[in-house]
Symmetry: D4
Subunit: 219 residues, 8 copies
């Protein structure tokens, strides 16, 4: 496995049958590498009706409905990895993207601490939960509309911050463009940005960072 | 005078001689309305060398170098108006725009309380000066790059907030576009946005708001 | 209540059941603050079918169909506040946004004077209703397509103008972008701009301005 | 001559010597068609210093400094053509574009009635000069920043309106983009738009319209 | 009637019942001005099913299906006006926009000569129909995708050209943006541009031009 | 040599000394492959003053001033290659880009037939030179502003067309964006587009096409 | 036949009946040129249901479902042409565009060698299939999202590369804009770009290139 | 020190005197925290002439000319930190940005392994240096124009990749926009993107990642 993480199936544009078949093939291939790290098989952007059909074919398939992730989990893949991912979201509408990140990270074996609805327009809610920031080894911060949360968070925290703009908003949000630009222009230090709505990619980057930490550990 | 404020001269594209001539004509016209509110004459976006030449023609002309405003002040125009304008800026580079707003407001007779360098990447500096927000009747918030400050401020304050994006930044700031979009997409309540770098317009809107307050007062 | 206004529910992406539940929770919380200003509970961007389902759960829920607002009103919340909001719209297609602003403002207790269909291509209709402009303490001006109405209005009026671009138009209107840019670039004085189609936000800003007036009043 | 108008020289990127040489060649070619309509030779976007050098080579060359047009005029070319072009501009900074249109039209033999500084933020100045609109056979309306003037004018006038956006403005004017979009989205009837700052093209289109009128006349 | 043309109803966002009611009201108002020029009542962007319902209410309503125009015609309104409109389109997919222009012009009483499918990639078809260009008093040229047809036509013709970009295309056509920019940047002389897909507006501008011609005629 | 063409030096951002040094190093390396195809060494985007300094260091350096190319030519590299490149440009201002393509192609050993100033607004000039199109094996078509020339040319020719948009224009040309979009959206068949102002790249693609032809020949 | 290739029908916006009728007309016209090169008749962007209806009318119509192409093939049209087209795609989702190119090329008589799923994020898969690149006479490279594949391919290959950006992606892919810009900005030599999703156009350009080769061959 | 890194001075818009004064103030403040991690004082985007003036004021000031960084180094600040940063750049013109990242990282005490000129158009150079990728704990990849390098690198490496788009390019590179979009849309896993030309920010993020690693180490 090239990157050490499971190859993940991108759901859109595939039939439930195709997805089920790829999942089974991946599981079988993984079975020849018992106990290995990336042994989970997952598919993202799966609608509930698509999952219903997949489950008819693969009864063990599990579904995370907010995250829209379908997964085949197997024994041992979830032994906890070192490091904690703090996962923050600005508004209720950002939850699907935030949960895509959270479930992906958990399926990779990482501990995730969630903190929802801490948008900057009500800064006190963030400030009264600041321990989530100080306890994390890496932070994923999800926000749409003005996308200002990662800047504030990176100013308060002392670890890498992965900023995920979402397409939440209307009018001049231009489908996430506004939040994306905000995050790229942040004055705060230690922020890396991923594509709009890319919760999956953020979790993968967080995982890479924690694995680096673990490897240096052993040097 | 149509709006009750001085007609202001937009400097760019005019020679010093033209500016001086218009200023004198305006002052003379204003002289026929003694004691009136808008009696100050001012020009914006005036470079230092342009001012040097104007002063040769009109020795009483005053210059505010950071704000790049040149003004003819006369007795009585500065009697304090009711209401306080809180004026915040995010970074050092935003100062010219912030001062354009500040001087414009002061030349209109309003009290201005400045709070500089309170960008959201260091939120504690803003939080330890929160009395500026609570004491103001209207706030002008100036920010470039990610432009997130007005959102945080509007969440903390209980008065109208005028957001001024600046062209400060580079790369994906797209000359203020990023900050502008951030401000338009704010989740916070009570924000009105003006054009990029338009400190003058923000002060005029703040003035209109305070005049409305004063007029309702008399009802 | 942070801002002194009711927390409002953003309808899109929520089920009728979720909306009804949040409305009930908000009403119950508000009941502990009897007679308070922001005691109304409201949800925006509610389609007629969504309302039908909400009413089955909460029979007292009221629906404003053009504004697409669903509200729980209770005794005393509507005692008139000082100040009048003049509310203008350019074309028929702008009405949903204009009514979102109007109903929001009225649910906050403000007097609203409506003036519809006064687009600049037929300037005489605006000019023969100019008393709406002179009698208002704050103006909300809603326009799509070229979005030129706020400029003309701000030139005629002597109070703050809140400009609301709408996504009405086609082709080079780019979903409200054209109207938004027009309003940001206005040469007129005293204009603050909100997001495309954000009638709600305009009403909230107008409310903030009138509350400021009322507070200064008491100084 | 293909279009019946003089071929005009586009100045930018040519040396004064090249411009002078092309002008002379064109004049000589025109001389073989005595008394013809398009007998004037002109060059646009000519800076003052470029003209100074051209005049050394061609002493009869005339310069219109605001319009930045250099011309070789000859006997008879200016006999008045039927029809009047009303030419309006919104602000002082739009004058170079407006004069490019005016001089071009006059060099083609048309009568031009100018009306400067009638921006929509002060609508009364336009309304007290409405006879310029009613007396014109075709109108050219030049405006930068919000670019709203053509809409208002087309609503008041009963003839074709040629809208010329200018690059005047800053920030969200995006070098004339905002004014251009405004004009393309106008709700008013009878507007054709030309490129940003294209005063020359507007005059040529106005000329084509009046020539059509003259030709139908003779049918 | 302000502009001398019928006020036209913009169909989108209105119910069939609303459209029918406005059409009847307009017809009744027009009836008090017998024999007048603009006596036709029309609605644009009307889908076939909408028309079916309108006809149930107003049996005399006529439908032009490619143009998607619904009209109430009455005696005498169609007496031919002086002048011919040449109407060209580049491709088959541009026909709805071209027909919107054609029917609008014909309903205003103008003679229209159509020339379809003369896109620049097959220039010979245009060249073998060049008489359409020379016989017209004003040309409307409709094109999507690269939008190059108006440039070629304006080079061949000696009358005003109204360029109509369409949203036909895919990928980098950006919904008509590409064709719009092409037309605004044309090197040819005598072109005015209208909004993307605005066949109606093009016909109205052509009508204005021909009416100007007719009026000067009488001077 | 990877592609069979000379590695070319991109001038901007390098000092004359650096350029001269790289040119000498390349020539020396090429010397070990006597008689080879890509033996010429060239640098693009070289201003005249930069060349003056280069020539002091390398006296044999040759300069093509319109193309802004500096080259070291050596014996044998210019033996003619099979195939003819037809090279068309729309306007005078496009010449530097067109000559960059022409000189590059000639330095690679290809025959180039130039046809300048055949913009679509005067289609007859193109049509009376149509033999340039029919005699070429590949065409390079350079155009700015509306960028319509490649469409017309590809419709007339029966060989591959390489379209080069230029940044020539103003206002809505957006530095070549308009011409670029036009070319990408062409309805004509057989067009490949290169970057704005990329005459060099167009010549290299043309060269690749002709080399392919030559190689298939030998199969 | 102007270009030597079949005129192809663009499916979108046409009814199945219209498409069938045009196909029959074209076949009949082609029948009068027996044995000719372009004798195939084809329609692109045909959905499966549209094909079902076409086949009812023309039973011999063939359907390529991934390519969404419907064709009428006839004897002799497919005799192999000289030259091989290498056809690469980056990801699974790019297949419809890649197959549109492949089938078009094959229907024109060219040999196509496919290489799917060689995206740059897993460069080894491309490198272990490098013989596809070296054996081709022209390459078509299809990629969405970051669109980086053509750059890598052009660096490895020694023949012309036609780059086809696809609209595959989400968020900042902006419907293919990102991939398009990547391809236009490539540092590699010998790349021509076509419109987003334009597999058909790429095949036609490849065909033109190979025909040029064949013609030069005969010189 | 908030983030554990030195506060860095942003040079643009400050006079040499101002920069020198801030540097001295920072050094004095740092002196009270002897031996601390962030004890270096640095200023970015410093032109050579600005440095010359700074050195007159602070003789110990050091200058890194390609990186345009001016620094005050003091004993002990440079004791090596655990972890290696691999730093790749695509082209020569990207060097200033790459060196800004390199020097910043080295001034923070990190080991940096540079690999220049490994753009994807010549993939073999990257492949023959693949040990730089496998030996690094975090990678910074700098690229302009098509910006494809980070995708290829992230596919080969097994550690976090920080992608830095540069404004290098012309035409459709749109000042780094193209490279930025490419990086955001990468299919490869484990990439975080920073602003265009933000070498400094990339180094800071890399530093944060390595510090996280060091801290987890101690758990
Ligand atoms: N939610 C997601 N967001 C972004 N990339 C994803 C997501 N899910 C899967 N992918 C990527 O898509 C690839 C699988 O695509 P496919 O082969 O079409 O299933 C994986 O290797 C991932 O890199
Ligand atoms: N129509 C609207 N336009 C803009 N913002 C709104 C609108 N309606 C509600 N909101 C905002 O959305 C917030 C509620 O979001 P939510 O918690 O998702 O219901 C409120 O506090 C308002 O600030
Ligand atoms: N100010 C102007 N704006 C737009 N087009 C112009 C202008 N001046 C000249 N032109 C056009 O440029 C052409 C001459 O370009 P050139 O051959 O480069 O001198 C003329 O035929 C005009 O169509
Ligand atoms: N090259 C750079 N790129 C991005 N941000 C920088 C750079 N150099 C300094 N900064 C930031 O700018 C801040 C200093 O700005 P100032 O107070 O204006 O000197 C620092 O705290 C850094 O976060
Ligand atoms: Mg931090
Ligand atoms: Mg507030
Ligand atoms: Mg006013
Ligand atoms: Mg009119
Ligand atoms: Mg013409
Ligand atoms: Mg052809
Ligand atoms: Mg190659
Ligand atoms: Mg990797």
């Amino acid at each position: 496995l090239r990157t050490g993480f499971p190859e993940v199936i991108w759901g859109p544009g595939k039939t439930p049958e195709q997805i089920a078949q790829i999942m089974q093939a991946m599981r079988d291939r993984n079975a020849s590498f018992p106990g290995n790290w990336g042994a989970v098989v997952m598919a993202t952007r799966i609608e509930a009706e698509v999952y219903d059909r997949i489950r008819e074919i693969i009864p063990q398939a599990i579904y995370y409905s907010t995250a829209k992730i379908c997964a085949l989990e197997n024994d041992g893949f979830m032994k906890p990895r070192p490091g904690t991912i703090g996962l923050l979201s600005a508004g209720t509408a950002d939850l699907p993207v935030a949960e895509e990140a959270a479930i992906t990270a958990e399926l990779c074996g990482f501990r995730v601490q969630r903190l929802w609805d801490v948008g900057v327009a009500g800064i006190h809610r963030l400030l009264s939960n600041v321990q989530v920031l100080t306890q994390a080894d890496v932070l994923i911060v999800v926000a749409g509309m003005e996308g200002a949360l990662p800047s504030v968070v990176a100013g308060l925290a002392d670890c890498p911050v992965i900023a995920v703009p979402t397409s939440v908003g209307y009018g001049a949000s231009f489908n996430g463009m506004s939040a994306l630009l905000t995050m790229l222009n942040s004055c705060a230090i230690g922020i890396g940005v991923v594509n709009i709505d890319n919760g999956f990619g953020a979790a993968m980057l967080a995982g890479q960072i924690l694995r680096t930490a673990a490897k240096i550990d052993k040097e």
